[in-house]
Symmetry: C2
Amino acid sequence: MSLIPTDDLIVRLRSRGLSRVALQFPAGLKREAWPVASALREAGFEVVISGDPCYGACDLDRDALALAEVLVHFGHAPVEERENVIYETVRSVIDVGALAAALPLLSGRSLGLVTTVQHVHQIDEMAAFLEEQGFRVSVAPGDGRAPLCGQVLGCNFQAARSTGAEEILYVGTGLFHPIGVQLATKARVIALDPYTGAAEEVDASRLIRRRFAVMEKARDAESIGIIVSTKSGQQRLDLARRLVLLSERAVLVTMREVCPDELLNLGFDCYVNTACPRLAYDDQVRFPAPVLSPAEFEIICGIRSFDDYIIDEFLSA
Amino acid sequence: MSLIPTDDLIVRLRSRGLSRVALQFPAGLKREAWPVASALREAGFEVVISGDPCYGACDLDRDALALAEVLVHFGHAPVEERENVIYETVRSVIDVGALAAALPLLSGRSLGLVTTVQHVHQIDEMAAFLEEQGFRVSVAPGDGRAPLCGQVLGCNFQAARSTGAEEILYVGTGLFHPIGVQLATKARVIALDPYTGAAEEVDASRLIRRRFAVMEKARDAESIGIIVSTKSGQQRLDLARRLVLLSERAVLVTMREVCPDELLNLGFDCYVNTACPRLAYDDQVRFPAPVLSPAEFEIICGIRSFDDYIIDEFLSA
């Protein structure tokens, strides 16, 4: 039995006269691949599952699509519209009463509100709950890459920035998004995990200290690989080509998956990551060499000042 | 300093008027990427390195090529000719006197001789040495996928089969190739490691017993992923589509890298591998579920007999 309903999807596929379907799931939903495929197969479709890693709609599997008429991408809102790609959001329903746990940590009565794609369908309900408690709540549109109102991505905090708020409540799991919100907005940020009810004020300073240590290690690098992603929505080639010109010791390196083994095999003293921004921040402990963000590389090349440290984002032009 | 000479390559690239070059190295030569790139960069070329895993000429990096005018693929003979791909063999020179260590293990005076791509430039020298010792040596052409005389691949043993010999000497490292030679030819096979001088008669029976145990584990699978590679020279789509029809519990799964984490995430009870044949044989211990070869899947589906067990090969049509 699939946890993801397929009846409506089957109706839509049939109404478009489609019979060969590719399915793509993010890591956390991969186990749904077989039940969903099985339901579609029983309904008469030819099915192919994308078995490669996937962490966002920035990574549409064009290879799987090449074997089908349409790619159904589960779990993420579009970062770009593409012909023959259907985005199937997978919603998680929370009890908005859980937001009460964050209230004692808020310092004012006015706040911005952001969340991630699986909760964004409840953003109005969350805002209404907070307003009932006496807060003025600002929810703002994102940009093209995070198109839903109040939605942030690990690489796009525009919906937080656009609130203009000095205090922002992030509803979701993990601390990467709220730390990104803090770095992108300079606001005070409270993170609330809607499942555990845990609330805390986030502190980006530890991340910054860690990043400056990584930058120091990278200073003496004799060889620098400027990573260019080959994923559908992660290729910043112009940026990479601009960065490679900053050092005679740098060269472009294309990668599908930026993983420790391959960085080790290549053996560069340092890498600069123009693929998914989270990789440099989240996975440094797993990497065999410093992996810098574009802005961090600019700092060690002397063309950006320490005070201009920014978090790396994919912003729509 | 590059261990791989670049002067001649630079002359050839210039003579073709090329200025944007993508470089691809197999795992064992990845550390040469920066020295080679650096030499080309100094010579005025724009360079991009393929940072993805690569284990053969069956895996040409089309994504890196898309950013350049030509892809220079190091270390492998072509498995297919492609426009804008230059194959740069990387030769290893051995002392053919090392072959003497294999002689006491040979039972007759007549033998077939095979080796791998990095040694195949010395195949005539090896044959001459053996003939001086009183042996009749047969060296045979491969097929389109392993085009050099006497060359075997982990997925192609045609050059061994074509010798028609009842005893075959394999010169090279590792035991996978000679075991494959034995399964493909039914000949007696002696493996000689030219670096250590270690010689041994190979025995495929342990591999076979292990494979039959894996097949038994796969019998009760409720879900079966038929893996289709998306690499340039590993996609056997017709085969995969034929296999998926053998079971209602099967579905196609596309993969770039067949790796344990992704198999675990997908959670199928069993997989059938139509990508690089070695994966099923070599990496089973790392995989979270049985990974069968096409013929093994046919056996558990009852359309092939146990006695017809064959090793999986990519043979030219």
